[in-house]
């Protein structure tokens, strides 16, 4: 983070510009990745999530749209709007319901009916992400993003 400031209603963060676009568009244009390539990305996301967890933050919004690529081809996480502090800190109440298409595929089972989830929800997300990168679509995909099998 480079800078932050507060308006009357919002806290704003100024973040580095990652010119390479997001993983959602990259996966859409390439279909799927080789295992080697997926491994390269997944490892970096695991490192990022590990860092957040060490700082008592649960990310809880892992999805391709939130992974940005720099000019060097390395990736990073963005969008911390769904993150929360562990141990009932001042983090906003996590929004476990899908806000818009996409996130539902990545929600861990325990997030659906329990607000008291932990860091393991992010590891579930890594499982979904790894599968989607290599296969080309997420594991519980039914062809309709609003009708992900998890809600059945």
């Amino acid at each position: 983070m480079r800078y932050s400031f507060v308006t009357n209603e919002k806290v704003m963060f100024l973040l580095p510009f990652k010119r390479g676009g997001d993983m959602f568009n990259l996966m859409r244009s390439e279909g799927r990745f080789t295992e080697d390539r997926a491994r390269f990305y997944v490892l970096q996301i695991v490192l990022g999530l590990g860092y957040l967890h060490q700082n008592n933050v649960i990310y809880s919004d892992l999805k391709p749209e939130n992974i940005l690529m720099g000019e060097d081809g390395y990736v990073c996480l963005c969008d911390f709007g769904n993150s929360k502090l562990m141990n009932g800190g001042s983090g906003s109440k996590p929004n476990a319901q899908p806000v818009e298409g996409g996130a539902a595929d990545y929600i861990a089972p325990e997030m659906i009916d329990d607000d008291n989830y932990g860091t393991s929800v992010d590891w579930w997300g890594i499982g979904i992400l790894t599968y989607e990168m290599i296969v080309g679509f997420p594991p519980f995909y039914t062809g309709n993003r609003r009708n992900t099998m998890m809600f059945k």
Binding site: G21, T34, E35, F40, L49, G73, A108, S120, W124, P139
Partner: protein, 75 residues
């Protein structure tokens, strides 16, 4: 293992299976966090320290215009 016509290594299948464990207490990562995942055999071929130092060449370099204001990768 072959599914959807894609060859996937047994290590990768095991990695994903252990992560898509419904019980969060049993899920990979629930014991020692990121360390549990990084020590999984699927990552054995990658040097974590080299990744951290960005010493490994990325498998894909994004297409970019020279113009620093280029936002063609965003919609």
């Amino acid at each position: 293992m072959k599914k959807h016509g894609i060859d996937i290594s047994p290590e990768c299948v095991d990695f994903v299976r252990q992560l898509l464990e419904k019980d969060p207490e049993q899920r990979l990562g629930s014991k020692h966090g990121a360390k549990d995942l990084l020590e999984h055999p699927w990552f054995a071929s990658l040097d974590v320290d080299k990744i951290k130092a960005k010493k490994i060449k990325a498998p894909h370099i994004p297409d970019l215009e020279d113009d620093l204001r280029d936002t063609s990768n965003f919609d």
